[in-house]
Structures are given as C-alpha cells and as structure tokens.
Subunit: 93 residues, 2 copies
Amino acid sequence: MLNTNEYFDGNVKSIGFEAQGTRSSVGVMQPGKYSFATAAPERMTVVKGAITVKLPGHVEWETYHTGDDFEVPGDASFDVLIEETTAYLCDYL
Amino acid sequence: MLNTNEYFDGNVKSIGFEAQGTRSSVGVMQPGKYSFATAAPERMTVVKGAITVKLPGHVEWETYHTGDDFEVPGDASFDVLIEETTAYLCDYL
C-alpha cells in the first residue's frame, strides 16, 4: 500500500510505504517554515535540496544537503526551514 | 506546485516538483514489472531499495541499489523489475 498525504495546505506532500521491514516515506517540501511532530524516532535523509533544522533541545539551526541525514527523537517536535523545494526520505526507526 | 500522480493501478506513485532549475519527481514502486516511456532524457536514482532495468537497446538486465543512478535516453521505453518496494528520484535532463 502506498499512502499519499499532504500537509501545510499542500506545501508538503509525501508517499508512505513499507520496505525492508520498516515504514518510510518520500516527500517534497516547498519553501517555507514548518513544525513537525514525531511519534516514533525517525531519520530524515535529504534526497535533493537542503533542509535547515532546529532539532529538539537544540539552540542552533543546522543545514543538511543532498545525501546528508539526521535523526529526530520520538515524541518530539522540530522546526524546519526550506529555502528551495526539497525532496526527502523519512525512515521511521 | 507539487503534482501527485499514480500509474499502473496505483502500484507506482510519484510527486513531481521543480528545483534547481530542473523538473524532478520522487516516487515509490511496489513489486512488479513495469514498462515506462520517456519524452526527455532522464536520470533515475535509487533512494531506497533496488531497480532492475533493461535499458533501451540493451540485452541484459542490470540491478541498481540504494544510491546508484542510471540514465535513460529521451523518446524511448525501458522495462523495470521491482522485487521489493523501492523509492526513487527521477531528474528530467
């Protein structure tokens, strides 16, 4: 089953899938500032573009580029700043 | 604009976007055998999983894994075999 979702008035769209025993999604974010909440921990990988993120408990923003990844703890919220349209992979850990 | 599309009875879904001056899409393919047609040349990158492909004019199938990419000429068709659900990035060149 492939589940298409959209968030933030359609500025973020994703396709959820299950592969290699884990749940994942690929998606695209248009430029903007977004706040996401996690249930389980997740790993975000930048597929194309850049994600600037303020991780839970962090003071500074960090920018991740194509091929980079970062982990977000479960039961947390994190802020994301997108300056150019960006594709990502999210693996639920 | 993010354009969601589906093909092959929903077994392949994609999100089209424009970034860094090129049109691209990310998508997910469920297990199956598919035949795609290209208008422009494109580069496919395996985001997660594996794509086995018989490129136009080729006799043999080749398998590409996470992180690998391959180019497909424009105005051509190519066959794809998916054994595990696979996420991909397609850049239109």
